[in-house]
Symmetry: C2
Subunit: 404 residues, 2 copies
């Protein structure tokens, strides 16, 4: 039998992150690689009560086919919880916010379409867009996020105009950086001026440590933005629920793409989440996640300061799950990874997160999954791996192994 | 803000079925339209026990991100339950079998690719394929399913060779027909000879009334077929779980498309279903669904025989959920629908199920959702609507309304 693959499938490659997650599932590995929320934060008792209630009171509907838009009460809760005026009719419940990326790609990207991303950007988004075969263009970015002047310069015109710019303003995956108030205003103005819609991805926005981040980009120009949210980081990722907020001009097309993709997201899960969220549960629950992740961040920052050799730099995120490490020039995090895994510690090489030219001396570390004692051990092991590589680079030969 | 849609989105139209489902959600409507399993068949108590057990014993894992392939024990159960040798590594758990259609389209269809479907075929499949912009070609079909000679004639060659043929051999949606043993053998041979892979969709195969259907197409040529299964009809659709079985040559591409689409199907739902399926639950549960649906089918057949005017024909499916009605030539089921809805009865016009030239004098009726007394009332109302239309056709003027 001769299978003929679609051109897009010929280009598909295994997800680096997913393959790494497999390696790091080996027992004994301390993983800073996966973007896994701490299971300590999952409200298991509340889910148990919600399951019982939903199945007892609303079982047949919870287990039946349902409307593609999503469960009405959940859409209303989502709309009411956003910091700008959103009609529940603009909310589309998705099978994780990852599916939102797939749906947006389907309705806005032709093969060869120009679209803009941050430098670096979320790998999963690049993978979600890839099947539509766009031309992803990296916009220069700094510690405050994507640069408005470069976004304007790369917006393109006419048929070459970017279909959208994909931005993750809060505690970005992978860098942990947050877009400043001034930058948000400038970016929204530049995009509107250039006629480029924004696709704002905000899975981590609620996970701030000292103060809430500035208002979302979408709040500043709702007609020119699509907004992606997720229940994965504030409740649990295993339910696979997220949402998309779209202006009325675009919503019907997204809905049709959603119908074609999986008919609707699980009715049961939507009712469970709506049940758990009743009576302001998130307002009580999310602060406990913030406190935990802040202490984890603090612990990892202290470990990095204690262990890392001179020349290694890292970000100090004010929320979220990730920080970004920059190794001395010339070191390659991809070649470092197997040596780190030998020492039972894992990370994601930063090169995975670039749409075009990667900076190979970078890596992403999650500070939320490992315990504090694992962070101490893992960062020490990682620092030793890096020192060894620096020594090899300096002398041209492998360093004498140093016992941990 | 000027949004530029992808070409595929310009062509997207609202799903006829989904829009009809909305109309028929009006209270008081007797709906033969939706493909909704009877909620009486949902094992609510078993799901409640499974939720409790999964959350108590395995809560953190059930609520965490997971591998894109699916939950290992569930993949093993799926493989073990199929009537040919399947390695669990060939099983991909999907977010409903609808997602399987989306994934297959992504990896096998380029814009303009030729692909083959039955006449008529499942509307949701046409919608799932549409975003990849294939050229769907209808293969002539009769009461035994798609015709092998016409499949061979339309297979195409070289770059024009069909990327796959989409077939639903058991109790087909929409016609209810079942492919005979001889036809299966002939179709598999013709497809293999022409080098056309088969995409076999089997959501209803377990719902047989007198005897199991012949062996799946895939069992006859596993390397040349993709197989889609679903938990929606034997457990509950609201969990959105299905599966894809693929030969090793194709599996990795489907897996990558799956990762990009929604990372993985809900871990929690997969564990719930695996828990419910333990200890042979389906072997006890599915016979109760068969018995219910058989009695519903019998009831609808009796009502049709009692009520329908001469010239109306219908299929007598030996399993599944649907039967197919053919009106006298010249009658149009689409124009009939609003008049039926006025009489509080709904169906899906058959025209929705054709890839190219529709037969407008057809309709699909589900016999599983309505109660037997609703079937009596609804079929009588539908028959009256049809009689009225026949009278109008005969005399050229509207019939005198007949009181029910």
């Amino acid at each position: 039998m001769s299978w003929t693959l679609a051109a897009r499938a010929e280009k598909m490659n295994p997800s680096v992150i997913r393959e790494i997650l497999k390696v790091t599932e080996k027992p004994g590995i301390i993983s800073f690689a996966g973007g896994l929320p701490s299971p300590k934060t999952f409200p298991v008792a509340e889910f148990r009560a919600a399951c019982e209630k939903v199945l007892t009171e609303d079982g047949p509907a919870a287990l039946q086919y349902a409307a593609s838009e999503g469960y009405g009460p959940l859409r209303e809760m989502v709309a009411a919880g956003l910091p700008w005026k959103v009609d529940p009719a603009q909310v589309l419940i998705t099978t994780g916010s990852q599916q939102g990326l797939d749906l947006v790609a389907k309705i806005l990207l032709d093969s060869g379409s120009r679209m803009l991303v941050e430098t670096p950007t979320y790998l999963g988004a690049l993978q979600a867009f890839a099947p539509m075969e766009p031309r992803a263009v990296s916009v220069a970015s700094d510690d405050e996020g994507v640069r408005a002047d470069d976004l304007a310069a790369k917006a393109g015109q006419g048929a070459e105009r970017a279909r959208f710019a994909y931005l993750l303003p809060n505690f970005q995956n992978p860098t942990g950086r947050t877009m400043s108030e001034e930058r948000r205003a400038a970016v929204v103005a530049a995009a509107a001026n250039a006629g480029v819609p924004l696709l704002e991805d905000n899975p981590y926005g609620d996970l701030w440590f000292e103060q809430p981040p500035p208002a979302p980009l979408t709040a500043r120009n709702p007609e020119g933005c699509l907004y992606l949210g997720s229940f994965s980081k504030v409740l649990a990722p295993g339910l696979r629920l997220g949402f998309l907020v779209a202006p009325p001009a675009i919503y019907p097309k997204l809905l049709q793409a959603k119908q074609a993709a999986d008919l609707h997201s699980p009715s049961f899960n939507q009712r469970m989440v709506a049940q758990v969220m009743q009576d302001g549960f998130l307002a009580r629950h999310v602060p406990t996640i913030r406190a935990l992740y802040k202490s984890q961040r603090d612990h990892m920052l202290r470990a990095l300061e204690r262990e890392m050799p001179d020349g290694v730099q890292w970000s100090r995120p004010v929320g979220g799950m990730f920080l970004w490490v920059r190794l001395p020039a010339g070191l390659d995090a991809v070649t470092l990874l197997p040596r780190a895994v030998e020492r039972n510690v894992a990370f994601v090489p930063g090169a995975a997160f670039y749409a075009d030219v990667p900076e190979s001396n970078t890596m992403r570390l999650s500070f939320v999954t490992a315990s504090t004692s694992q962070i101490d051990i893992g960062i020490a092991a990682l620092a030793q791996t890096i020192r060894e590589a620096m020594e090899t680079q300096r002398t041209g030969r492998p360093a004498t192994p140093v016992q941990l």
